[in-house]
Structures are given as structure tokens and as C-alpha cells.
């Protein structure tokens, strides 16, 4: 899922302190799955803000509402009444959410409560790791189903660097060297020799470095 972490409270409050009627909007899809921005967390942040504002004598109110997703017009429009009644919408979705809200509700100020950081796998309960950077041209079939762009600190496409030690990346003992993983994986199929093949250059224009992307589909239009 898209994983996002809550911004430090100090940063959030530096924004919310400026507004009287704050609406904390939770999102019950990706950020709920990574346990940081769903309804439960939205209620907690709301309670924290209320307690802080009472202590700091900040006038106004903090309310909360959660929708299933904040990346779709209909879900965001569903809380129009609450948004229209607010001075600041503090979104707990990934950055897409506050952006869509800002677009749909041009007159209200919007702030993100989260730092969106990665596309992640759930390694185990409470641990999420980056597995994809949305490069737009997935070549993991050739690397044993493992992505060297997302999981290599240097995004190397041709094999490990000299910093690969004992199977882990030089940046940390907790980060495996992805090229070690790729090599070992291909070797289980006897295909490590394939790594010697020359492939063409990667089409980076399909990634975000080629400019902001839009995907379209043909088919029945309502």
C-alpha cells in the first residue's frame, strides 16, 4: 500500500494553531492498513489537538470525520458539509488526499498531517518496507521478482556495489543487499548466468522523472 507516517506533532500544531475550526479527516484505505491514518488514528490526533489547544488557550474547535478513501471525488464530496464548516482541513491520507480536497474545495485551507513515504509491503505486524518506486517500467522478471530500484540504496541496475558485505547493504546491517537477494534467487533456478546478459537501457521517461504521469483507459463511459 501507500505508506505514510504522521508528521511530528510540533509541525502539525504549528499549522493548526493558526486556525479556529479544524477538521481532521482520516482515510480508511492505505494509511489505515499501515496503521497511521485510519479512523482510530484520526480520533487520537483529534483528542491530542483538543488537549493541546485547551492547554495553550487556542480558541476554536477540532472535529473529525473519516472516509473510506480521499483519492476519489465521491468520497471527498461526501463530507462537503463538514469541510465547508471548517477553516482548515487536516488530512491524514497520503498526500493525494489533501490535494484532492484542496481541488474540490477551493475556498478552504488544507494541510497534510502525514509524510507520504513509500509503496510498501507488510513485512510483519508493525513493520513496512519499501518495495516499489513506481518506475513505470517493471523489469523484475529478470531479477527474480525482486526490485533493485526500490530496494537498492543506489538504485543500481547492474549488480551489487563494493559496499555489499555479508549479504547486507553498507547503509545498515538491517538492510539486505538486494543484489545478493537477486543473485541467490536466480541461482535457485540455475539462472544466475542471465545476469551476464546485456539488456537495453531502462526507459526512465516512464517514471516520474519523465514528468507527472496520467493513466487512461478505453471502455464504457457512463
Amino acid at each position: 500500500m501507500i505508506a505514510a507516517e504522521k508528521k511530528p506533532f510540533e509541525q502539525i500544531k504549528a499549522v493548526t494553531d493558526q486556525f479556529e475550526k479544524v477538521l481532521v479527516v482520516g482515510c480508511n484505505t492505505c494509511v489505515a492498513v499501515c496503521l497511521t491514518g485510519g479512523e482510530k488514528e484520526a480520533e487520537l490526533l483529534t483528542a491530542q489537538l483538543r488537549l493541546q489547544r485547551e492547554k495553550d488557550s487556542i480558541k476554536g474547535s477540532v472535529e473529525t470525520v473519516t472516509v473510506l478513501r480521499q483519492c476519489e471525488n465521491e468520497y471527498v464530496d461526501a463530507i462537503a458539509a463538514q469541510i465547508d464548516g471548517s477553516d482548515l482541513v487536516l488530512s491524514m491520507a497520503c498526500s493525494i488526499g489533501p490535494q484532492l480536497i484542496a481541488e474540490r474545495f477551493p475556498k478552504v485551507r488544507v494541510a497534510p498531517a502525514m509524510n507520504t513515504n513509500m509503496l510498501a509491503v507488510v513485512k510483519k505486524h508493525h513493520v513496512w518496507s519499501e518495495y516499489c518506486v513506481a518506475c513505470g517500467d517493471c523489469g523484475i522478471f529478470n531479477t527474480g521478482g525482486i526490485c533493485p530500484i526500490a530496494r537498492c540504496a543506489k538504485q543500481l541496475l547492474n549488480g551489487p556495489c563494493g559496499g555489499s558485505q555479508g549479504g547486507h547493504c553498507e547503509i545498515s546491517a538491517e538492510v539486505p543487499c538486494v543484489w545478493q537477494l537477486i543473485y541467490d534467487k536466480l541461482a535457485t533456478f540455475g539462472l544466475e548466468g542471465n545476469l551476464g546478459r546485456i539488456g537495453g537501457p531502462k526507459n526512465w521517461s516512464k517514471s516520474n522523472s519523465g514528468g507527472p504521469r496520467t493513466m487512461k483507459k478505453e471502455g464504457f463511459e457512463p
Binding site: 482520516g26 489505515a32 482510530k40 491530542q48 488537549l51
Partner: protein, 669 residues
């Protein structure tokens, strides 16, 4: 700044519906009157005896009496029985009524009844089924007049059951409550003698025959006419009325192996101070009396001779003994009563008195030619579903039509008849649907439930108690009662989830210690109510707030927080029923089966609602509390809540975790 916790949090979409009871606990299902045992046991655990009593009264018109003598089929069905021992549900009924009485609070004031229907019913017999019918009819606005031939009301509860099991004043209190509802009970008014049956039929809008089985069966054996041969029912009537029984000697033989025979034997023991021997057809393991009654009788020194049939009562002008023949089997291959004997294996059991307790039959001599009719065996022709006899407007209930059974079955029969009578009178009445039970506790879950011994009902010393008719059982008392009630698994009261809100994130699947939530490739499939122990961990962890607990839901806990703050204190303590001790006695108390169901949201929310300080009681790591894993959630929630406070610039000490100071239930029983 006060804040209404629930009101100010806007709900965006459907909350799960707690109390969505598709599956009921087996105790409720097994109970003939479907009493909500789980709910009253929970209230006893919390110490709310008056609430427990009012829950009992929702279905039970004789709470104190039944709490003494019930056959408690609920306990046989109790799922805790598969873990260690069933909950003492019957004894806890008494804890509720004793507790409510001790506190002098409501539960003993009958409601004022409006007899708005203008209809009236004549009920013949003031035993449990007649009383139950009158009670339920009253609640439906239909007045009853009960005609009881005995000088006092209660039927067999008074004339057949002894004070050492059911004190007369207790029975009086239950009956007085029913009288207090406007039910008229006319004693010394035998139908057939003092008043004619046809008069009742013409003067009342309906008649209910609830006369029970008031006549003893006898045996067609030689010697049955000897003076020291007694029949069970008249004997018990005499004992219960305080009359002397001059024929009672010192060496009494009781023929019979059922519950009534047990009562006859124990009474004979008390009156005579002599030797009492029960003789029955059945083998030891198949004696029809309840196991616990057999044990009580044996405790009191009553001997039991099994597998012997009465052949003749021997003696020259007076009883000198009972000649018995070996009984080889009691039931045929179809389970019907068809004893077979070895006529040549005879022996004599010496004795100077014989009391025949082999069964009872009804006295329907008051019936006239106009009906209702009886069949060739003299039993009322009766429709089990409609409770009707062959005569329009005449109904029947209780042992007169069901045959012998427990008092609670008679209550069920009377309640069923009340609905039938009400409908006949054009009064709207519905029977509730039959509940369906959840399944057994699965094996792997059983191993994760903490064993706790069942509290034993204290009884008077045997040597002392057999010298009088004073009550043998003295009551569990508050501490043992609440501890016993805390053993209840709260079956079916656990996690419910909203399919609308659920995002199938699998958090609940991962965190549940019992494996109750299950998922497949399509997402969360369900939360298995057989496995769920209602620890609350999944509720605290669900990121989408799709889960709530069916009993003591989040809304209930929020109400509890508000109520705790309304007490003259700015502090709140989250604690548990089980320990019965307080971490912060001055704080408003929110009682829970375990603090494992307290989420970060509830902790910080309590402060947001206006609490100055929140105390949380937790069990030690060694003790691990009610749910084994629960205390770890409590600790994690407190740590997370404190970190959230600190982050927001609020003093984290406003949430304090403390070890439970003393666990009263952990003391040796």
C-alpha cells in the same frame, strides 16, 4: 473544559452494531424459560445485584425459589464446563437476590399493573406453572384469580419441597411479589369441593388447569395396607405443614430413586434421627435423581440400595421389612420403562417404616361431563403447541400435562400457556423466537483460557443439619459470588465487525490470541464466535474502527466514563470486576471484565472528556490476568497514550498504570 466525548466526534459511517446476537450462549438456550443468564451473571460479577435481579425477573417469576432449587440445565450446557467446571449459574441467581436484599434496593417492589384488557382468567393451582401463567398474564394486562385447595400457596414448592432446600419465607416473598402485582390467590379454595369447575368456566373468560401431580402412586404388593406404610405426597405435606407423623419409626425404607424420594429420605432422617435406606430399581449410575441431590443425601448418611424391586412388605401386623427382588434392567431397548426382575433372587431389607415414592398422578376429579376430556389413561387430552384442552376456553399447563419435571420446566409451560390464553382473549402476545447456541470452545482455544476452580456452595455441617429443617446451603456470599461470576466466558459477547467499515487489513487476524478472526483471499471472512473470548484486543487495534464488542461496547465504556466523571471526582479509574479491589478509590470507576479492552483512544478520550487523571489497573506479568495476553495490550495502550500526551505537550503522568493491589478472587476458595 467539559466535552461530551461521543457527541463531538462525528461518525462518518456505520458503527458495528453491538449486541447483534445471532448466536446465544448455550446457558440461555438450555434454560427452559431462556433466561439471559450471561447478562445476569455479568451483573453479579460487577456487583450490581439489583440489575441482575431485574434481568432474572424478565423471564422468571420466582427468582428466589428457583435460585435455590433449580435443576439448572444451563450448567450442563455451560461452555466453561469444557474448560474446567461450569459456572454455578443457579447459585449466582441466589447471590443476586441475596445481594439485592442485603442492599435493600429495588427488585423487591412489584410493578403496578394496569389491567386494561378487562379480561379475567381462573387458574386452578398455585404451583410454579400457575404462578408463572398469572405473572405473565398480569404483564399483558390480564387479571388472574388462582384457586388453591391447600391452605397456603405454592403448590408442590410448598407441600413437596422441604425448608432445608427452600425456606418457606423465601417462597412467601416470591409469591407475595406476584400478589403485589394484583394477582389474587384464594387459598383453601379447592375446585370440585369449595367451588365448582363449571362456575369457573362460566364466570371467567378463560380457565387454566395447573393442578400438577398431587396424588402419590402406590404399589399393588402384599403388606401395603400395614399401618407403617406411607405414601410420599401425604408424608411430605405433613412434614411441610409441621404436623407429626406418628407412624414414622427409626428404621425407614424409602422405595424410589428420584428427586422426591431423596426429599422423602432426607425428611425422614431429620424427623426420626434413625436409619434411612432408599431402595430403587435403577442401578447406581442410572438413578433418576440429580447427582447433586444423591450426593447431598449420601452426605447425610442415607443408604442406597440399587437394582432391587419391591416384592412385598413383610411383617406380622406391623412393618418389619421389605422383601426385594433383583432388578436386572429398568428400560427396554426403546428406552421405555419396563423393568425385568429375577424372581428367584429375593432378599429382605429390615425396617419399621416404608414410604412409597415411585411417582405421582393428577387429581382431575373436579372435571365434569362437559369436559375437557381425558384419554384412556386418565390424562388430559392436550395440544402441546396451543396449550389447549378438548374444551374451548380451557387450557392446561405444568406437570398435569407434561408429566413430572423440574420446576423451571413448569414455569416454561405456564408461560407458554399464558401466551395461548392471552391470544385466545384477543390480547396481543408473542413468544420470542427460539435462540440458537454458539458451539463448543475449540480445543486450541481451551488451552489458552486460564483455569479457575468453581466456587463451592458452603453448606451447614452434616451432623448438625440433619437435626432440623433449616436451610442446608448458606449462599456463596459476595466475594465468592463475584469471583464465580467472573469465571463466565461471556459466550457470544465478543467482537462484532461492520462489513461496511472493514478494510480487510488483517490486523485483527494477526493480533487475536485465539485465532477468532479468519480471512481468505477475499479478505476478512468473519470473527468466529466460538473462539472469540471477548478480550477486546482486536477492538483496540482495528485501524478502521470496524470492530466493537457486543457486550460492554465502546459506547458503553464511553457512557461509563461520563458516569464516572459525573461522580464527585475529576479522576477516572479503569479497573476489572475480577480483582474487586481499587487502584484509586477516590476516582470514578469504570468496571470492565479486563482493562485489555481499553484502547489508546479511550484513554486520551477520557482526558478530553474532562478527566484530570486516568488510572489504569493491570495485572502483573506473572499473574497475567483474565485473558493471559490482555495485560500486554493494556500496557501498550498506556505507553502509547502517554507518548501521545507528551507529544502534544500534555503531562504524560495524567495517565497512570498501576498493578492491581489485591485480587480477592485469587485467594484460596
Amino acid at each position: 473544559m467539559e466535552r461530551e466525548l461521543a457527541d463531538s466526534i462525528t461518525r462518518s459511517s456505520a458503527r458495528p452494531v453491538p449486541g447483534d446476537a445471532r448466536l446465544s450462549p448455550p446457558c440461555e438456550v438450555a434454560c427452559p424459560i431462556h433466561t439471559d443468564a450471561r447478562r445476569y451473571v455479568q451483573k453479579v460479577a460487577e456487583g450490581y445485584y439489583d440489575l441482575a435481579l431485574s434481568i432474572i425477573r424478565e423471564t422468571n417469576p420466582l427468582p428466589q425459589s428457583i435460585g435455590r432449587i433449580c435443576a439448572h440445565p444451563c450448567e450442563e450446557a455451560c461452555r466453561r464446563g469444557g474448560v474446567d467446571e461450569p459456572i454455578a449459574i443457579c447459585n449466582l441467581k441466589r447471590v443476586a437476590s441475596d445481594g439485592a436484599k442485603a442492599a435493600g434496593i429495588v427488585g423487591f417492589e412489584p410493578p403496578a399493573v394496569e389491567y386494561s384488557t378487562g379480561k379475567k382468567v381462573a387458574i386452578i393451582g398455585s404451583g410454579p406453572s400457575g404462578l408463572a401463567a398469572a405473572y405473565d398474564l398480569a404483564l399483558l394486562g390480564v387479571k388472574s384469580v388462582i384457586f388453591e385447595k391447600q391452605p397456603e400457596a405454592g403448590g408442590f414448592l410448598r407441600t413437596g419441597i422441604l425448608s432445608y432446600r427452600l425456606p418457606k419465607n423465601i417462597l412467601d416473598e416470591d409469591i407475595d411479589y406476584i400478589r403485589g402485582m394484583g394477582v389474587e390467590i384464594r387459598t383453601g379454595a379447592g375446585v370440585g369441593e369449595d367451588i365448582k369447575f363449571e362456575e369457573l368456566v362460566s364466570e371467567y373468560d378463560a380457565v387454566l388447569i395447573a393442578v400438577g401431580l398431587s396424588e402419590s402412586r402406590s404399589l399393588p404388593i402384599p403388606g401395603v395396607d400395614l399401618p407403617e406404610v406411607l405414601l410420599a405426597v401425604p408424608f411430605l405435606e405433613d412434614v411441610n405443614a409441621g404436623r407429626d407423623v406418628p407412624q414414622l419409626g427409626k428404621d425407614i425404607i424409602v422405595i424410589g430413586g428420584g428427586n422426591v424420594a431423596i426429599d422423602v429420605a432426607r425428611s425422614a432422617k431429620r424427623l426420626s434421627g434413625g436409619r434411612v435406606t432408599m431402595v430403587c430399581l435403577e442401578a447406581d449410575h442410572e438413578m433418576p435423581a440429580h447427582d447433586w441431590e444423591i450426593a447431598d443425601a449420601r452426605e447425610e448418611g442415607i443408604a442406597m440400595v440399587c437394582s432391587q424391586g419391591p416384592n412385598a412388605i413383610v411383617g406380622d401386623g406391623r412393618v418389619e421389612g421389605l422383601e426385594v427382588k433383583k432388578c436386572e434392567s429398568v428400560f427396554d431397548e426403546h428406552g421405555r420403562f419396563a423393568p425385568s426382575f429375577c424372581e428367584t433372587e429375593l432378599s429382605i431389607i429390615p425396617g419399621d417404616t416404608v414410604i412409597i415414592t415411585i411417582g405421582q398422578m393428577s387429581n382431575l376429579s373436579f372435571l365434569t361431563e362437559a369436559g375437557p376430556e381425558v384419554n384412556e389413561r386418565g390424562i388430559l387430552i392436550f395440544d402441546r403447541e396451543l396449550c389447549t384442552t378438548s374444551r374451548r376456553g380451557v387450557f392446561a399447563s405444568g406437570e398435569v400435562v407434561t408429566g413430572p419435571g423440574a420446576a423451571v420446566n413448569a414455569l416454561a409451560s405456564g408461560k407458554k400457556a399464558a401466551i395461548a390464553v392471552a391470544r385466545y382473549l384477543g390480547v396481543e402476545a408473542h413468544s420470542s423466537h427460539e435462540p440458537v447456541a454458539i458451539g463448543e470452545v475449540p480445543e486450541d482455544v481451551r488451552a489458552q483460557i486460564k483455569q479457575a476452580p468453581r466456587r463451592i456452595m458452603p453448606v451447614r455441617d452434616t451432623g448438625q443439619r440433619i437435626t432440623d429443617f433449616g436451610e442446608v446451603e448458606t449462599g456463596l456470599g459476595e466475594i465468592d459470588g463475584r469471583c464465580e461470576a467472573s469465571r463466565c466466558l461471556l459466550c457470544g459477547s465478543g467482537a462484532r465487525y461492520s462489513q461496511l467499515k472493514c478494510i480487510s487489513c488483517l490486523t485483527c487476524v494477526r493480533v487475536c490470541p485465539y485465532g477468532a478472526p479468519w480471512a481468505d483471499g477475499d479478505g476478512l471472512g468473519g470473527i468466529d464466535q466460538d473462539k472469540c473470548q471477548a478480550c477486546g484486543i482486536c477492538f483496540t487495534q482495528c485501524p478502521a474502527k470496524a470492530i466493537d464488542l457486543a457486550v460492554l461496547s465502546e459506547a458503553d465504556i464511553i457512557s461509563g466514563i461520563r458516569a464516572a466523571l459525573a461522580v464527585d471526582s475529576r479522576d477516572v479509574e479503569f479497573g476489572c470486576w475480577y480483582s474487586q479491589s481499587r487502584v484509586a478509590p477516590g476516582a470514578g470507576f469504570v468496571a470492565l471484565p479486563c482493562t485489555s479492552r481499553i484502547s489508546v483512544g479511550l484513554l486520551v478520550g477520557a482526558l478530553d472528556a474532562g478527566a484530570e487523571k486516568v488510572y489504569v489497573a493491570v495485572c502483573s506479568e506473572d499473574d497475567d490476568g483474565r485473558f493471559i495476553h490482555g495485560h500486554r495490550q493494556t500496557r501498550a495502550a498506556v505507553a502509547e497514550a502517554r507518548a501521545a500526551l507528551e507529544e502534544a505537550g500534555i503531562d504524560p503522568e495524567r495517565i497512570e498504570l498501576s498493578l492491581v493491589p489485591e485480587k480477592k478472587c485469587m485467594k484460596e476458595a
